[in-house]
């Protein structure tokens, strides 16, 4: 790939660049390329079918003057820095964004793989996952404060750093609020396994922040269960294919007591402290048909911080920490029941 492009910054300045090698996987929403001689920048080229309203979206995003950085300067969102046009015919292809480099970020789904986790996060405990979940909640809160809705809030759009920092990517797919007109550009797509029930049936339409509250609850559950989806599991009577969204439709959440079969490595509901289980019930049970009942990001952040401050060390394994209220170590119990140790390598 050696396509010549213009990068057009928010102030209208144009700079010439050339697309380099693809970065990351060939995603369904577009492809990401490096830029020759500009290692700090990547370019997302959207599929042509997804470029509807792209110019409007970029106008809103590039007009946002505030940065998306946390207290210590780390990025919270891979926010566009320039529009990208072909140099030969001027056609709009996508946008440029800073490459997530410092601190080092990796895609969240990679860390759901225990083997990758064991190598890249040696010594990390359950506390790290609580931190990631809390940081995610805080980022979602910032997004909502600015009037936007993430929409496709899913692990594939979440990058994490070693210190538990979170950065969201693919902001072009959000429901974006035009600060001038107050009009929302709707979110075109969300993964069904993270989509709130009220949006499963209908086509893309305007979303309330409460739809993100559903996805946030699912993600918090998944993070605190080391990748296991709260609507994972095979119902006993199933005769055909079954996916998370089937269990969502039938309100079968394994963390809330649904009778489904799961692999031995699934984190049991009892491993979670009551403060998290209560909120999961509010979000995924009471909040199933009543979106207003779902806890918001600040409520989640507070609960997760509380849970992290209420951990006890396991007397047998240094990498095991668990809710102080539990009578014994759930990770030891999982290992004793035949599952792989979720936090290996900490035998005292």
């Amino acid at each position: 790939m050696s396509l010549d492009v213009w990068l057009i910054a928010p102030d209208g300045r144009r700079s010439a660049a050339t697309l380099g090698a693809p970065v990351g996987s060939a995603g369904s929403q577009g492809r990401v390329f490096g830029l020759r001689d500009r290692p700090d920048t990547v370019v997302k080229v959207l599929h042509r079918a997804d470029r509807v309203h792209l110019a409007d979206r970029l106008r809103i995003m590039l007009a946002d003057p505030a940065g998306w950085a946390g207290g210590s300067g780390q990025p919270l969102v891979a926010w566009p820095s320039a529009a990208v046009h072909r140099r030969d015919d001027g056609r709009l292809l996508g946008y440029a964004a800073p490459r997530l480099a410092h601190p080092r970020f990796v895609p969240l789904p990679s860390l759901f793989n225990p083997a990758v986790r064991a190598r890249m996060l040696p010594g990390a405990t359950w506390s790290w996952w609580l931190t990631v979940a809390e940081e995610l909640a805080r980022v979602v809160h910032v997004v909502h404060q600015r009037g936007h809705v993430v929409g496709d809030l899913a692990p594939a759009n979440v990058f994490v750093s070693a210190s538990g920092g979170v950065c969201l990517i693919d902001a072009d797919g959000w429901q974006l609020r035009d600060p001038v007109t107050g009009v929302d550009l709707t979110c075109p797509f969300s993964r069904p396994e993270y989509t709130a029930p009220e949006h499963l049936a209908g086509p893309s339409r305007s979303r309330e922040p409460a739809s993100d509250h559903w996805a946030l609850a699912v993600l918090v559950a998944q993070l605190t269960c080391l990748g296991f989806h709260p609507f994972g599991g095979v119902p006993r009577e199933t005769a055909g294919p079954v996916e998370e969204v089937d269990n969502v439709r039938l309100r079968r959440c394994r963390l809330l007591g649904a009778d489904v079969r799961v692999p031995a490595a699934a984190v049991p509901p009892e491993a979670l402290p009551a403060v998290l289980r209560r909120r999961l019930g509010d979000a995924l049970d009471a909040g199933y048909a009543a979106p207003a009942a779902r806890p918001g990001p600040q409520s989640w952040a507070a609960a997760l911080a509380y849970a992290r401050d209420s951990l006890a060390p396991c007397p047998a394994v240094a990498t095991h920490v668990y809710p102080r209220e539990a009578r014994n170590c759930p990770w030891c119990r999982m290992a004793e029941a035949g599952a792989p140790d979720p936090f290996p390598g900490g035998q005292r």
């Binding site: 396509l3 996987s25 060939a26 995603g27 369904s28 929403q29 492809r31 080229v45 599929h47 042509r48 079918a49 997804d50 072909r86 056609r91 292809l93 080092r104 990796v106 895609p107 789904p109 990679s110 759901f112 793989n113 225990p114 083997a115 990758v116 190598r119 890249m120 996060l121 040696p122 010594g123 990390a124 405990t125 790290w128 594939a156 750093s161 070693a162 210190s163 797509f189 993964r191 990748g227 296991f228 989806h229 994972g232 599991g233 095979v234 199933t238 055909g240 294919p241 079954v242 996916e243 998370e244 079969r261 799961v262 692999p263 031995a264 490595a265 699934a266 599952a339 792989p340």
Partner: protein, 251 residues
């Protein structure tokens, strides 16, 4: 050990990372490749097509394995060829078994020996074998491993028209098309079909529907394999594949 001195050791080749299958779900992708004698006769950039395919597969497989560590972690492949030697499984242990250690392998462990061209085009038999295997695998994984399995995905590549084992034209594809329609509606199956020059468009359209069929203008095997990878991603739709097939990604 400082738990936050992290992400320091991730430079190894992806293949060196052990794959762990204990997710809550798996997805099955059946890749069906036409290896009939025409693949040994036609040329791609001056190279016999099957040799070009093998060369490109050698470049492609490490990418698949790397994706198997991340976005394709839940994917199990079964690869079936139809041509030399009839219909055969060329992934896993090479047998048409849906048991663990049989025909299905995680994306992170997908390896293929060089393919050989020759023989007829028993496409119908190959698709039927794929349907049978993915269904048996679904039952096995859901029952034995308690893991969710969604609808299977079939990716069909051909440069010809279906024949019986002896090379006689067959219209078995008509009943297969009806069966595939049932699979689409009740079994959540999705079929992506790629036709390279020489293919019978009518048959491919009947099997994959007009939306799921992508005739390619030339025998660009690198592009074909890249498209197969795109068609393997979880939430991709036909329009997005079409956008890449017809070179308008940058248009």
């Amino acid at each position: 050990m400082n738990p936050f001195a992290l992400f320091e050791d991730d430079t190894d080749e992806p293949d060196e990372v052990e794959f762990v299958t204990d997710t809550h779900r798996r997805r099955f992708v059946a890749l069906l490749i036409d290896t009939s004698r025409s693949m040994g006769a036609t040329q791609s950039n001056g190279v016999v097509a099957i040799d070009a395919l093998n060369r490109e597969l050698a470049r492609w497989l490490p990418t698949v394995r790397a994706e198997g560590r991340g976005p394709l972690r839940d994917v199990e492949f079964v690869v079936i060829t139809f041509g030399a030697g009839g219909v055969g499984v060329v992934s896993g242990d090479g047998t048409p078994s849906a048991e663990d250690g049989g025909a299905f392998v995680p994306a992170s462990r997908l390896e293929l020996a060089p393919l050989v061209a020759g023989g007829a085009t028993p496409m119908v038999e190959a698709v039927e074998l794929a349907l049978s295997l993915v269904e048996r695998r679904r039952q096995h994984v859901q029952t034995v491993h308690a893991q969710q399995t969604g609808g299977p995905r079939l990716i069909l590549v051909s440069d010809g028209a279906p024949t019986d084992a002896e090379g006689n034209p067959t219209d078995g594809w008509r009943s297969l098309a009806r069966r595939l329609e049932q699979w689409r509606s009740t079994g959540r199956m999705r079929l992506f079909a790629f036709g390279v020059p020489g293919v019978d468009d009518e048959v491919m359209r009947a099997l994959a529907t007009a939306s799921g069929y992508f005739p390619l203008a030339d025998l660009d095997l690198r592009k074909l394999l890249d498209l197969i990878l795109v068609a393997t991603s979880e939430h991709v739709d036909f329009d997005q594949v079409r956008s890449q097939v017809y070179g308008d990604e940058f248009r």
